[in-house]
Amino acid sequence: MSSCLRHIFSSLLIYCCAATIPAAAADDDRRITLSGTVTNARTKEPAPFVSVLLNDGERWTVADEKGLFIIRNVPPGEMTLTITALGYAKRKIKLHAEDSMPPLRIALPEDNLLLEEVVVAAQANHDEIASSYVIDRAGLEHLQMLNVADAMRLLPGGQTNYNQHLATGSGQYLAVRSVSSEDGNPTFGAALEVDGVRLSSNAAFNMTTERRIYGTDTRNIASANVESVEVVTGMPSVQYGDLSNGLVKITTHRGASPLYITASTKPNTKQAALSKGFTLGRKAGVLNASLEHTVSIADLASPYTSYDRNTLSLRYTHTFNTHDGRPLSVEAGITGNMGGYNAQSDPDLFVDTYSKARDNALRAYVKMQWLLDRPGITSIEATASVDYTDKLTEEQTNKSNSSSVAVLHGKEEGYFVATRYEDNPSAPILLIPAGYWYQRRYVDSKPLNTAAGVKAKWLHPLGRLHNQLMAGLDFTGTGNKGRGEYYQDMRYAPTWRDYRFDEAPDMYTVAGYIEEKVQWPIGATTLQGVAGVRWDKTFVAAARYGSVGSLSPRFNLRYTVTDRPDGPLRRLAFTAGWGKAVKLPSFEVLYPRPSYIDRLAFAPGTMADGTTFLAYYIEPYATVYNPDLRWQHSRQWEIGAEAKIHTVSLSMLFFHHRTIDPYRYTNRYTPFTYKFTGQEALENSAIPSADRQYRIDPSTGIITVVDRTGVQPSEVLAYHERRTFKARETIVNGTSFVRRGVEWVVDFGKIPLLQTSVRLDGHYYQYRNADETLTPSSPYLQNMADGNPYKYVGYYIGDAAAANGYETRKANLNITITTHIPAIRMILSLRTEVCLYNFRQNLSEYSRGERGFAVDNRSDNFPSPDPTRYNSDRYVAVYPLYYASRDDMETLIPFAEAFAKAYLNDRPLYNELAKLVERANTDYYFNADRISAYYAMNLSVTKELGNVATLSFSATNFTNNAQQITESDTGLQNSIYNHGKRLIPRFYYSLSLKIKL
């Protein structure tokens, strides 16, 4: 091995030198023409419009309607032809091309179960050097995928999701080598492309109070016309930007095809789909059209809450100049979806109440690829796309109250008193009178993403080096054309502030990248390498953060020791990758919606009709600009090895993913005093309540009562002041953290006698994050012993909570036994998904000292003689590192020392400081939680009925496993279904029928 490494090193050195030699110095300038005919292996008829790629796309063409293809200007020698067409099996042909070579005659078999090599699991994609997996049509059909996120379960160690339907109130997201609930917004960092169109959630606004940014909701992506799903788990090419947690590429049907009619059913979901590839004529290309209707219900017992998807997709492809060696491929597609979530017809809801959410989408793209084959430029590709989503949610609820309700709409800072709608409909605070009413709320979000890009490739062989240089420019624009949240009738709008999404300036990004890909035969081995760098610059109008630049270098290597079809060792290869990926900031970061703190400033007694004219101090604030904020990014590396010994394939991959500068929300506190006036100030008022008109000075908060009748003089009410804090949110960079793991696959190949193959795959995954950001926190809404608002602020390591992070570890093992009998065109798989190890532990960590200690009794404030906090079955308390007083915010006082002194000498201070001590909720909070092993078994059968129909059936968790699991933190046993973590799906079946006409 050491000689091998020396070989690689010396080869790299040579390459570095060779890369500087002009291309003209290549020792063989001969060029040949490669031609051939592709036919249907079964019918012997020409296979029209098949794609023919040379050496993974260095050169390419598309066969004409007679199956004839010509590739000109090809260097002679070893090469690989890849032939793909819709409805046919992908074929790779290795050949040695010479001048005298006759036209090729390629018989392409149809893609069906008569083939020997049908695979229904995710396969490592050897076309990419970075680790990636591909699930093709056979696997997807066998899986009966209704949501593209389902495909993730076929990755090594992936397991079936608990959720069985699409009718969830919130979205469904993809997470690659991560779990959606972890820090660092992993679903936001996972990039998703459909036919090359990037779907982005950058322009989405999270309307919930949780401080989390999600990725793209996958529910509106049609699943029936998906040809393949590729998941790049490693460091992707630099042509892919704006990502930090993997890339998922979905490719839909392309090319001439018969009419496919598909019908699928699961207990909660039904789907019907049509798909056909129309040949438009000899020189007019192919039009693929697909139509899908999917409806999913949340609850079988109450089938009224549903999600539906109605997608029409058109995709046009045509290639010009197929015979002159410089083909020009034009591709355009448009996909429209109408549907969404709907609980309108649920009879369990009160009359005329409902909620529904549109999930309409329009995606269009144009792509042009031109094989120029000129000196200095081999091919050029230009793309333009638009992705528009209409996510209008509408919700009508019934309301009632026996008193008036003060609703706050004001966005200006100051004191304001509630006003009747009739008196001033645009008042900052309105009163909804006592009674019954309906409230109809809309949230109109219409993210619009546009993109355009151009990239060029240049093949420049250097001797034995096979080089390809790629460079490109990308432009993306992101905006939201939605109205934001609003209400049908302002008379009944609740407390809410108008914030129009469409007024947030668009975000533009320009990116440039360059990447060199080299393939270097070294003796009998081959070294492949990709090195690239990407530069992104984001321009944001009117955002404090201005334009943001980032540089992302990425490297991937593969060293193939052997790769041959026979012999004991048929394949041995090693891979390594390293790189940086930057996820662009979302609108949540760039344009954080202003928040408002509304403090009750006046509370007069309620009148006989239920009206009370409350007044509030409105305090608007936007997230405080942080000039030190750095953009979140990730740095990852992976190394792997793969081998094939006889028929047994093995692969193993270690990955390490560090999220750097993750975004965190914290508060900053500044002292603040406001006035409060209570009913006691009115008890001696000479003005009858019915005649009172309350006026409040917006800046001072002093209330004046005016007699509407003019009989009594105006009265200025007494007040008292409340000294407290303003808490203003800001975004900071948290502590970097790591995900790491191992993915492995052992495929024993097919046992001919049994027509059966056994595959084991699994992963071990670890996530650990203990944030050490110094985080201020104050229970300032509480009072002190003297009745005044709390005056101290604690500065904690990480959150003001017992834990500042957690660690998870998980080891999954999947055993898939697949019996494929081509003679009867049937494939049957039994997949046992086992979770061997499921671990979680809360963490309280500080790299420069202790964070937290065990206490003998739950309410104790001082450490136990044995302060061990982990796995000790004891409660744990956590001090802030420092505290500061409202009277002197600049002085940070070490907490532990001051607290101990106060205990001895200053009991009132001790009692107040004790309010800053955080503690665990349970005595097992810091115990390791290991869940005992559990499993689910899934059975799938696909049977082709001649060439006309394919029938698939699957039963998920068909043994109806309802085992008891044990959790080590409490020692308690529980049913696997009652467990809050939803570990395995309940038993359900699915059936689908696909007819080919």
């Binding site: 009632s400 026996s402 309620t606 006989a608 209570g678 309410s859 004790a914 503690r919």
Partner: protein, 458 residues
Amino acid sequence: MKKIQSLFYLAALALLLFSSSCEDDPIIGVKTFDVIVQLEYPAPFEPAGGVTVRLRNLTTGVVDENVADSAGAAVFTVVAGVYEATVSEERADDYFRYIITGSRINIAVTDTWFSDIPVPLPLTATSLPKPAEGDVSPYGKLIIKELYVGGCQKDDGSGAWTRDAYLIVYNNSSQPAAIDNLAIGTCFPHNAHQATSAFWVNGAWIYANESWLPSVYGAWQTTKRDTLAPGEQRVIVVYQAIDHTSVYSNSVNLANAAYYVAYDPESGYSNTSYHIPPSELIPTAQYLKAYRLPGVTANAWTISVNSPALFLFTPRDGTSLADFANDENNKVLHGTSASQAALKVPRTWILDAIEVFQEDRIADSKTRFTPDVNVGYVPYTNNFGHTLYRNVDKAATEAIFGNAGKLVYNYSLGMEESTDPSGIDAEASIRNGAFIIYRETNNSTNDFHQRSRASLRD
């Protein structure tokens, strides 16, 4: 004064000795007559014998005293003259002293006097609070007479309205009771059928052998100096002291100047869905003060709408609830969130308690009080205007002499499975002027029943 009186008696004796008009007197020859004074007691009092009746000659001033027999008759032998008969008797039951008095003047005894005809003496009775024996707590016997927490159906059929909760504190003694510094708390967990609780460990409450009970989030306390006379009550509104009936016709009118209300927005309980400014009729002195414990983040003090465990208490020995609640040692944490702090209220401070179980979850429910505070429970179905009402102590109530004729029976507002076994309609009887004594056995099963209608709607 005594000297004058003695002289007066001597003169009268001399007059009698030297008189010669009493023919029937074999010794001194003075004619005498029998006067039978018949005491007529007001209902429900009956003659009991042993009562001293005084007969005074209005001319001579001579007073004769005799003891009435068991039939209420006292016989005097007197000379002719004009007399006055008086009587004063004191009786008592467990709760009151009764002063029974009567007086009749101008009883003219002449030669035509019929000695065998009784002279009726009508009596009247006055009740006075009876001094308590033993415990002389200034709080008397303050009890929870009623707890209404479950809400009622809205008029539009959209569900229940539950922000109209209240309780009634009642003086169940014959002694005035001060209610300033009276505090209210509820026990964790909020609901009796809550599946898990950090306080429930190894089949027992962790405070079972402690001297305290956990009071959710802290407590509320009255601040106004106020006293309840025997049989007097105060309504304490838990959420919204306004008239709910104008919108929810099944609800209650809580806008009343006499009511107290838990309202203290500056404490942090500022959620106007629960706590809105009380009716302007209610003086701010009747607002209860909230003691919200450190760590509590809830912006409303909420009580279970289906199965609360509520108790009344008052700090003793001069302890300030403010100081007590702010002392770190008096706080205990509960449950799944650090914000669920509870105040460790000494059990000796507790005056009364009620334990409620949701009617269809009884099998899952656990009583949260320790046996010295309360055992048993009262079943409850919320959302339909039902209330939890105290049972009448039938024997004690009927034993009160003044209640005769004022008690209303055939109580019909109890629920099928839970009604007042006394059969006395307490509210109707109170309106009749009766004094109701409620049961106090520290057992909610015995002491309470589910009433189909809030008493404030009677």
